[in-house]
Symmetry: C2
Subunit: 132 residues, 2 copies
DNA sequence: TTACACAATGTTATATTATAACAATTAACA
DNA sequence: TGTTAATTGTTATAATATAACATTGTGTAA
């Protein structure tokens, strides 16, 4: 097996749930919600999450220790991710901006390091929260 | 007291250690290393870390749960941070690139969200590791 | 100087996030 | 069909971080 076409049972259960809630969710909250499907232990969730991140089906919001489904065809296999995060209501959106991703993909640092991946998190107030 | 000019005792101890090691270090590793200075509990370390992050003396490397001293006068009070991370040796450098920071500070997302902060982490292989 | 407010400290306990280790089973495919 | 890798199941534990509460220190203004 070189590349997996189909998801395994646990991967499917976890992904279905993450896609359903449609917002960032934490590993133990996933666990709590999929126990009725037969997933009993944290490790079962974390293993599914690891694989789903690896194949780009979900992303981890590092500053929140939360996971969200990918809605963006531009982030090839989770190699180039950008999010906006509202510091008031915690709403998170994946940013899909080809200029931004092009700029960052081509960014070359002064030490000559070659990047194959980046993650960018913007913080601020979303529209709703800024008028409150 | 509106703005603190001087660091408190624990803040000083923690910052001195982080500056001395000069690479990202984890909270419990800091704790272990400053116990001889009288800091006994995780919370004492975390409280110092929180304050030091807030005033921009250190940054948190979110993907590594580690903290590093700020060497960059451009990231005003931790509001605009960028790092390069070697996935092989885990070396982390703070990126100081005025074009990049200007680009990101002015970035406007499509939802009209106003950002006041960002954190960017690039991943790849540093020079040393890429020739191995 | 005193009194007030806020910042920082000390301490114990606990919550939250994540992985180690090992045995068993399943799936791809040469 | 045998072999290899992926996945699963399970228990225990490691690593990261915060709650709660009592106390002490510090700047400032009446």
């Amino acid at each position: 097996m070189l590349k997996q076409e189909t998801l395994s049972k646990n991967q499917r259960i976890v992904l279905d749930f993450i896609e359903k809630v449609n917002e960032p969710i934490k590993a133990y909250s996933i666990l709590h919600n999929v126990q009725k499907k037969g997933i009993k232990a944290p490790l079962q969730v974390y293993r599914a999450l690891d694989k789903l991140v690896e194949i780009g089906k979900i992303h981890k919001i590092e500053s929140r220790n939360a996971f969200v489904a990918c809605k963006n065809s531009n982030c090839q296999i989770s190699k180039a991710t950008a999010f906006s995060i509202c510091e008031s209501c915690e709403e998170v959106s994946e940013i899909s901006d080809s200029k931004l991703s092009k700029y960052l993909k081509n960014f070359q640092d002064k030490a000559g390091m070659k990047f194959n991946k980046y993650n960018l998190e913007f913080f601020g107030l979303c529209k709703k929260c800024s008028i409150k």
